[in-house]
């Protein structure tokens, strides 16, 4: 077996990831200030910065969606039950025994089955929850104006609570996500890959399928 430098993430992907990371952290910081958890910028400034960051994130998401569909990368996130058990077993048992990763990261399949499920949930449930509730908080009066009475100034409470709930979920995700980066080949290999785009992976003895899934 020999080590091979494999390209995992494109430039746009890394730009998207880190910009999104910074924006979400900043949104969380200003958001929890607006929530009343602490005072740093002051309420008014926190609201202003939160709105600006929200628009930046929306723009980024628009580009990311475009990128995912034009490159076909969205297929990475289609959840599958294949190997889920193996992956789970790895995190629960294998990792403590220095066992090898049950799945292998390649440009064509960069997410393990658990990641697929997690990121699918993130993209299809959690981010839409936070984005929709955020947009409704800012623009609830437009549906109201067009006769959608279910959304009015009286709904703001539920919109705000959904937004808060989303924020808590995102923060819990962040904690686990940060930790999971340390579970790669080495503690920093995943992080390095997300920065440089390349990861050193062990080349299998046989030139297996491109999918690289270990049976």
């Amino acid at each position: 077996m020999s080590k091979k430098r494999v390209r995992i993430y494109t430039g746009f992907e890394r730009f998207w990831h880190w910009t999104q990371a910074v924006l979400i952290l900043f949104l969380a910081f200003t958001g929890f200030e607006i929530h009343g958890a602490y005072t740093f910028f002051g309420f008014r400034e926190a609201v202003r910065y939160h709105s600006i960051a929200a628009y930046l994130l929306l723009t980024l998401i628009a580009f990311a969606i475009f990128w995912h569909f034009t490159t076909g990368e969205w297929r990475q996130y289609v959840p599958t039950l294949e190997n889920v058990r193996a992956q789970l077993e790895y995190y629960v048992f294998g990792i403590f025994r220095n066992a090898p990763h049950p799945t292998r990261k390649t440009m064509l399949s960069k997410l393990n089955p658990l990641q697929k499920i997690t990121y699918f949930g993130l993209k299809v449930v959690l981010i839409p929850l936070v984005v929709t509730s955020g947009l409704l908080y800012m623009f609830y009066r437009y549906p109201t104006r067009y006769g959608i009475e279910a959304i009015s100034v009286g709904s703001l409470k539920f919109i705000a609570l959904a937004h808060t709930l989303g924020a808590f979920l995102l923060m819990a995700f962040l904690v686990v996500h940060l930790y999971m980066t340390t579970t790669g080949e080495t503690v920093f290999s995943n992080l390095r890959a997300m920065i440089t785009g390349y990861e050193e992976v062990e080349e299998p003895a046989s030139t297996g399928t491109l999918e690289g899934q270990q049976a």
Partner: protein, 531 residues
């Protein structure tokens, strides 16, 4: 390389074009239209010049024996205008109001109950000093149809010397030079309105808290509109008047949502450059943020305890004052508390108020009686959060009939049963209730009452407007008492908080446990490896 160059050309051209457009538009001088605020300032900076000089009219170049003769002289030229005044509540002391659940009621100074001097009826000689008429001794006997009793001068005097006499039912003081005053008449200024409206309740700023002597010549900090060093606006600039119908009403005496003065009539409902602030106008009245404090110069009365009234010292009534001259005790009236630079309290208000009327039975005497309850809630599309001064009083109450008791306070002489002459509480109540045509069981108790006084004046300069964090905060929010809605910064859902924090904690603990275990096993493996 060449291929790369070719690809770069359209990108470079686009960047160049965008930059060029940006630079050109930045350098082109723009003729911005004046902002709405600048237009308003210009509009109100125009000096008004009277169209006529009343001192030149022969009709007014004579001595007037009686004030009614002046009125007759006015009507000679301004024929018909007196009928407008006689339709107004300044004259009639009542309005016809439709109140939901009650029907049509006639409400005004004639019959209203308040928690200051309690009621005007029965005390007209004193109270009618502020009636826009002459010689009202009783609302029951006054000739509301006699035009000669209309007091044109109190509102139109231009000399600042016109004054009504004490306890004469609205007649002018004998020292007033009626000829001079009649020749000076013009558009009412702050002093014309203020001479009554600043002294309601028997002294400066007693009632309103936001209308007082300091408003004759206010600074910008006291009132940004009326400031003599600013826009120098007069009362009637906002209280726009047409045919003697003065726009504006106070909810101590009004019930219906009509004929109100609003900030929006000049400033629109979206006056801010910041859209987020404009969002607030849906549910927050302008006054709420723009009048952060009231009673900025002199104190206003905030508490009145009638139960201590009537005490005498050496057989004589007496007064006690604080260092600033505010009366703390008065034999005639009882005990007071005052407040200066007060933060208003906040209520939902949709422009409709319900009033306690004389003879109303109090349903629950264990609770304070709200004399003018304001309608409104978050769910009410017409309601906004308004700042109010809340007046709290302990006043007379009949535990048998469950009615508020209205004593006779004033009489021109002793022996007529008036509290302020005879200091006999039970007798004053007996006489007062008889005059109101209401029963009195003979038993007297005291009950807490509350009155809301909307704070509309003393608008601060915008730099001093309320900061976001005064309401959007978990601790000591200005609107901590309004709980029927959610605002960020103040409110949380205990369930969402518990779930969210629990989840975060679980995540952190899980990560620590997993990570810890990894470190331990790795270390073990390492040791085994060495062995």
């Amino acid at each position: 390389m060449v291929k790369g160059m070719k690809r770069a050309i359209p990108i470079l051209v686009t960047i160049g074009l965008v930059t060029a457009v940006a630079v050109v538009s930045a350098l082109t001088p723009k003729e911005l239209p004046p902002t709405p605020l600048a237009q308003l300032k210009e509009q109100y900076a125009k000096k008004r010049t009277p169209s006529v000089d009343h001192s030149k009219f022969p009709q007014l170049q004579r001595a007037f024996a009686r004030p009614q003769d002046v009125t007759s002289a006015c009507i000679e030229c301004h024929n018909g205008r007196h009928t407008e005044v006689m339709r107004s509540n300044h004259w009639r002391w009542e309005r016809e109001e439709y109140v939901k659940g009650r029907g049509v009621v006639y409400l005004g100074k004639k019959n209203a109950v308040n928690n200051f001097c309690l009621a005007a009826e029965g005390n007209e000689l004193a109270c009618a000093k502020c009636h826009v008429g002459y010689g009202m001794e009783s609302v029951k006997t006054f000739h509301f149809d006699d035009p000669r009793n209309v007091d044109c001068l109190v509102c139109h005097d231009g000399t600042g010397t016109y004054a009504k006499a004490q306890n004469k039912g609205g007649l002018p003081a004998p020292t007033v030079n009626l000829t001079k005053v009649a020749q000076s008449v013009g558009r009412p200024g702050r002093s014309n309105c203020g001479v009554c409206h600043f002294y309601g309740g028997g002294g400066n700023n007693v009632k309103h808290g936001d209308l007082e002597e300091a408003m004759f010549e206010p600074t910008r900090d006291v009132d940004v509109h009326m400031a003599v060093d600013g826009a120098n606006m007069q009362c009637v600039d906002c209280h726009v008047t047409e045919k003697h119908n003065i726009r504006g009403q106070l909810y101590s005496l009004s019930s219906m949502n009509r004929n109100r003065v609003t900030c929006e009539q000049c400033h629109t409902s979206t006056p801010h450059e910041d859209d987020l602030l404009n969002e607030h106008t849906l549910k927050v009245a302008c006054q709420t943020c723009h009048i952060p404090v009231y009673a900025k110069v002199n104190a206003t009365k905030i508490y009145w305890d009638w139960s201590t009234a009537g005490k005498l010292r050496n057989g004589k009534p007496y007064e006690e004052k604080d260092a600033e001259g505010n009366i703390l005790y008065m034999s005639k009236k009882g005990t007071f508390r005052w407040g200066k630079n007060l933060k208003p309290e906040y209520v939902w208000f949709n422009g409709t108020a319900h009033h306690y009327l004389p003879g109303d039975r109090i349903e629950d005497p264990t609770q304070p009686v709200i004399l003018n309850r304001f309608e409104g809630s978050y769910a009410d599309p017409d309601a906004k959060i308004f700042p109010v001064k809340v007046m709290r009083t302990r006043q007379f109450y009949d535990p048998v009939t469950r009615m508020l008791l209205l004593p006779k306070l004033f009489a021109p002489r002793q022996g007529e049963g008036a509290l302020w002459e005879d200091f006999d509480l039970l007798r004053a109540i007996e006489v007062g209730m008889k005059e109101h045509g209401l029963p009195f069981s003979g038993k007297m108790d005291f009950i807490e009452t509350i009155m809301y006084w909307p704070v509309n004046h003393m608008v601060s300069p915008k730099e001093k407007a309320l900061q976001c964090s005064e309401c959007h905060t978990r601790h000591n929010s200005r609107i901590a008492n309004l709980r029927d809605f959610y605002i960020p910064g103040r409110d949380r859902s205990p369930k969402v908080e518990a779930f969210g924090k629990g989840l975060l904690l679980l995540a952190i603990l899980g990560v620590l446990a997993h990570g810890g275990l990894r470190v331990v096993t790795l270390w073990k493996h390492g040791r085994e490896g060495k062995r």
